[in-house]
Symmetry: C2
Subunit: 231 residues, 2 copies
DNA sequence: CTGGTAAGTCGTCAATTGACGACAACATAT
DNA sequence: ATATGTTGTCGTCAATTGACGACTTACCAG
């Protein structure tokens, strides 16, 4: 008891950065500690899966396991919070604005959007968390994301069809599925990089350029093939 | 003791299908039981992840947990075996033949191949197992798969370039990345269906048709954009 | 029937893991 | 300093989980 106390005292720590531990620069106010736990948890669960243990997480945070439970009543709650912050917070509202800025060619708009999308949303952290969450059926409200992506796809199709002067099919599901040929190609590229750990040899913007080119080049053929010509 | 035996006997079972339990039709020879365990394990781990518990697996098999360890010394070994059988065994050699059958238009070849590929390889079972394995860094020899897919991509690019009379870039990595725009779009479609549980509204062959059309239609633009014209 | 062998189960052990009560260390206002 | 509330840790409990020894039950040859 006394020995322990002495040992701590003997380390010559200054206030504010006592414990030499990896992360947990000792004694933080509530909000900061909570933020630090959330940030570390994101990394931790992204790497170790949602079944990662609270003891190892606490270790990664540089705090005791018990302290986690001062901030989150249960591991489920912590996971839900991580999901809300990191998964749902990764979409930018101004993408919708930029994609519809017709002062720029749609090819430029698409390239810029997808380069940004890859850097902002389709990161290693985001992808791994999202896949872990999707696999464990505990569908943590993927509907919100589905809704956002659907709107993105609709905007993209509308803008491309306008610039290429192509009439879109009536069926909105089929139309979205067409946008998915581009969106899916980019998404799968990110999966290859971050999950399968491959595809690092061709630079990212080149991949985006290629995908967009192919999409625009094949757009008319794809739409025409859908159900024959439609006015 | 005696009661149990009598109960079994009283069920009027014929040899080979005694126990009415869910799966484990009581008392099988070694090879059959092993095969049944492997088949059930595939389903089980695909649904529950590689961290699924052996007790529940045994339950799904209709046998006692202890019996699992008569066939596989450890859970790791069982997982490795499942991976070998179900993941690595999902590729057909004759795809390479069919894709290079120049008596058919490349569009037809691609459509047939991808419809078959979706049914054979990109199934729910396969995809979920592959993603779980890829996420848990325990990279269970993904190099073999990467090699097969790379060869598929090379064949596809060669065949399309030949039919469209387009010269491919020198850089094989860039060339493969182009094929990934099609292969990735199809793969991501399967992921949407089986992992995200979406995209069931447009029939599968229609999606394949759309993707192939767009690929072929945009092929020349994509190749030309790569580093300017080449020869 | 009988003995032997393979198929199958029961109960248990040791390690893990989520959760939490009780206690110690620290800061700050008075 | 001393009171007070907050930050943080220790140790532990109950449930889980991989693994396995010891035992029981079914099948088959002779």
């Amino acid at each position: 008891m006394k020995a322990k106390s002495d040992a701590l005292r003997a380390q010559g720590r200054k206030p504010g950065e006592k414990k030499a531990a990896a992360n947990g620069s000792g004694r933080l106010p509530h909000a900061e500690r909570r933020a630090q736990i959330l940030a570390t948890s994101t990394e931790f669960f992204a790497e170790n899966g949602l079944t990662g243990q609270t003891r190892r997480l606490a270790e990664a945070c540089g705090i005791s396991q018990r302290l986690l439970y001062r901030f989150f009543p249960t591991k489920e709650d912590l996971l839900a919070e991580v999901y809300r912050e990191e998964i749902l917070g990764a979409f930018k509202a101004d993408w919708f604005v930029a994609l519809q800025d017709r002062s720029q060619p749609v090819e430029v708009r698409l390239e810029r959007f997808y380069v940004d999308y890859l850097d902002t949303t389709l990161t290693r952290k985001w992808l791994r968390l999202f896949l872990y969450a999707s696999l464990s059926d505990s569908s943590m409200a993927p509907d919100y994301i589905a809704s956002i992506v659907t709107q993105l796809l609709d905007v993209i199709m509308r803008e491309v069809a306008q610039e290429l002067d192509v009439a879109l099919p009536d069926d909105p599901d089929a139309t979205r599925e067409m946008a998915w040929t581009l969106h899916g190609a980019i998404s799968h590229y990110a999966i290859r990089r971050h999950i399968y750990k491959a595809s690092w040899r061709v630079p990212e913007d080149q991949v985006v350029t290629m995908s967009v080119r192919m999409f625009l080049g094949g757009f008319r053929d794809m739409v025409d093939s859908h159900g024959g010509a439609r006015d």
